[in-house]
Amino acid sequence: MNRYHKQQLFAPIGEAGQRAIQHARVLVCGCGALGSVIADQLVRAGVGVVRIVDRDFVDITNLQRQMLFDEDDVRQQTPKAIAASEKLRRVNSEIIIEGIVGDITSETIRELAADVDLIVDGTDNYETRFLLNDWSLEKNIPWVHGGCIGSYGQVMAIVPGKTPCYRCILPEEPDPGTALTCDTAGVIAPAVHVIGSLEVSLALQLLTKTFDDSKPSIWHVDVWRGDFRKIDLTGLKEAGGCPACSGGQRDWLHGQRGARSAVLCGRNAVQVTPSSRAKLSLEKFRQDWQQLGVVTSNPYLVKLALNDGTSVTLFGDGRAVIGGTEEISVARGIYSRYVGQ
């Protein structure tokens, strides 16, 4: 009996669908709560290549809902992409699982997404989603969007030229502070598991060519109240006028939009990215920082915990997560003091 037996018995997938899944290459963007669920199910489903990209490391507040991580990962500050890929290789050794520690930007997306058939959204911010949307339209690759907060979330499959795109439903990036974040509204595990699972359901439909793009829709779910609403988006595509899919604008992909610093959702931390990509010697920082505070490290990062409660976690690509603040200007100040430039 092969390991995919039960999945193949499911008529819409069947043997042909299973072969398509096993030949597919899928990029999972972000491996927090949604990304964990997505990566887990794609790996178990037998997707030929699962590439998991995440910019962060495991934190104690992640464990409540991020199913691939445990307390060892917190102690070792393992990058999520590494922790996830190592766990999932024990689940399915017959496929290729790539864990990449890094940020998805207008620069890096060209390598990270160059050879994939499908992108699945595990990100926690608008900016990366607009970038994924631009890439999808530019390269004619479908993607599945999902977002989650509190007890609710939304899911939508985007097939360039067939369905409305992400910018059709959200023409402009919301101003900071105007949308709810999981900092203020929190998020519960049932919500992320349902939303992540719905994303994978759409992903499997796209991979097996059983997705019906003639009836585009967005799903809204509230797992606390039991609401499930499917909104028909047919009229939206016909109306036209979208700056991205009708107008051809690729503002995020071409780097006209997008910041180099980002407040990390729910982490009391800011990611600071250098203006050009670097290849740092983490060992040098590990030595230099010894006098400044408590220094810990693993093969992927070095962390300096300062007396005032802030911290700098530096990755080999020059990015740093500044902990203990949500002020971008403060974080940038700390970055230039301890990392330089």
Partner: protein, 80 residues
């Protein structure tokens, strides 16, 4: 009158699953957005990125909301 069904964060912030507005003639979704913003400033931020629906259909910015309509307001969700 129209009834606006509130979902997700909008319901949480207002503390009710619906509000009613005096609505005497057909006006666009953009007009509804402006009107809600004015009467319920607490959801002004959410309104900018919210989508509207009638029944199971999406309502674009120019779509007309008629007196007697029941429309849904669904704020966008960005967490993950």
């Amino acid at each position: 009158m129209i009834t606006v069904l509130l979902f997700a964060g909008a319901r949480d912030v207002i503390g009710s699953d619906r509000v009613t507005l005096v609505w005497t003639e057909a006006a666009s979704v953009d007009a509804l957005r402006a009107r809600l913003s004015e009467e319920y400033p607490v959801i002004a931020g959410l309104l900018k990125s919210a989508m509207f629906s009638r029944g199971t259909s999406y309502l674009g910015r120019e779509a007309l909301v008629q007196p007697g309509d029941e429309v849904g307001m669904i704020p966008s969700v960005s967490g993950g």
